[in-house]
């Protein structure tokens, strides 16, 4: 199983990269011109995201540096101790929707401190792998097309984060 997964993860991108141009070439598309044409869009898109991302990063950064996040964590931890949930993973649940790189850093830190095969390490890995940075995804996707009113997208995203977080912990406690 592990061999198969390793195989898929190492081959997936190279195969896609070789197949797409070859297929287009066979279909008589002027491949290089077509590629450059599409690539131009990528640049302007990346630039148009900057203001949105800067705005959000500033807010999260202030919130974290002020110690407000640490306080929030220390306040929530006692509530879940008796469910058998290790309190160490809780900050991850709070960080995950806010910052992708931040939560990845936190997961790496947990894995390093407690070991990858510890319960904390497994739960952290599962959480990090099964949810996404809702605020980042919303900012980038909506920012790219200039949407200001995201309707219920944030609520749905945060709700699925909570469900994913609880599910990840429950399944790890069950399986391991």
């Amino acid at each position: 199983m592990l061999n198969f997964i390793n195989l898929v993860s190492t081959w997936a991108i190279p195969v896609i990269l070789a197949f797409i141009p070859l297929y287009a070439y066979a279909k008589k598309v002027p491949v290089y011109d077509s590629f450059v044409d599409g690539a131009k869009d990528g640049f302007s898109t990346a630039i148009s995201i900057i203001p949105h991302l800067v705005g959000m990063m500033v807010a999260i950064s202030i919130f974290r540096a002020s110690g407000a996040l640490d306080y929030l964590i220390s306040w929530v931890t006692p509530w879940i101790k008796h469910w058998g949930v290790p309190g160490e993973v809780l900050p991850l649940g709070l960080l995950r929707p806010l910052t992708g790189t931040g939560s990845l850093a936190f997961t790496t830190d947990l894995i390093r401190t407690y070991g990858p095969d510890s319960m904390i390490g497994r739960i952290a890995s599962t959480i990090q792998g099964s949810t996404d940075t809702t605020l980042y995804v919303l900012t980038v996707y909506f920012g790219a097309v200039g949407i200001r009113n995201g309707r219920y997208a944030l609520k749905v995203g945060l709700f699925s984060d909570v469900v994913g977080f609880v599910a990840a912990i429950a399944i790890c406690l069950l399986v391991f």
Binding site: G55, S66, G129, N149, Y152
Partner: protein
């Protein structure tokens, strides 16, 4: 909502820093955050430029349309208000497949392209369409088959079974995705009920149900922004099943 969160994050941070007597961290954190934002965007340039070039090739070669046709039943169910042959469908599908493979970097440009295509169907360019919300619901729940990054990190720290979290991740991600789709559907139908379409009631079979709903409670909480200012004159119920969103 995003406005409130943004202001709250900044103000709570400000109050905390002030109460602890180290207000100077706010200034530093603000500029650090701004730097990170720009750095992340510049990091995205290479990936975006590259994958969008690739995606244009796939599009011009007819590959996206082919995949789109193959998987269209699933996506038609999830995105009932996007026309089947619209380019957005192809990008949505590529975005989903990339997410499945754990290729977050590849999924983002495709998702952005999908958003841009969905925006062409949007009557109110500042307000998200339900289809956009569904796309985001799928992306925030991030259906994952292979958590590539995590397996790599676990390998780095000499795990005895680096891939043992694949199963748990799959189950957790499936539950989260299911919850996201269910919640998305719930909000979708709730907004439909709150804001009945301006098309003649004879065309909506749900009309009797809608009119009998407790409208007094609903109208008091209706979002002011969601009411379409555009006159719905151009509406034709003939195209597609769910035309109510495209005013």
């Amino acid at each position: 909502m995003i406005h409130l969160i943004w202001v709250a994050l900044i103000c709570i941070g400000f109050i905390f820093a002030a109460a602890q007597g180290n207000i100077e961290v706010v200034t530093k954190a603000a500029f650090d955050g701004a730097t990170t934002g720009v750095t992340v965007c510049f990091g995205l340039i290479s990936v975006l430029v590259f994958w969008m070039g690739m995606m244009r090739l796939a599009e011009d070669g007819g590959l996206l349309q082919k995949i789109s046709k193959l998987l269209s039943p699933l996506v038609a169910f999830l995105f009932p208000d996007v026309p089947r042959n619209h380019p957005a469908m192809g990008y949505i599908l590529s975005n989903m497949s990339a997410n499945l493979l754990g290729l977050g970097n590849a999924a983002t440009p495709m998702g952005i392209k999908a958003m841009q295509e969905l925006q062409t169907l949007n009557p109110d360019k500042q307000t998200a369409t339900p289809a956009m919300c569904t796309l985001l619901a799928l992306n925030t729940a991030s259906i994952t088959l292979i958590p590539t990054t995590l397996i790599a990190i676990r390998l780095n720290f000499h795990s005895a079974h680096p891939a043992e979290i694949v199963g748990t991740t799959l189950v957790a991600t499936a539950i989260a995705t299911f919850a996201a789709i269910a919640a998305d559907r719930w909000y979708r139908s709730r907004e439909l009920r709150r804001r009945p379409p301006a098309i003649p009631p004879s065309q909506t079979s749900l009309a009797p149900l809608i009119s009998s709903a407790p409208t007094s409670a609903a109208s008091s909480t209706t979002l002011p922004v969601s009411s379409p200012a555009v006159p719905r004159t151009g509406i034709t119920a003939a195209k597609g099943r769910d035309t109510t969103w495209k005013g």
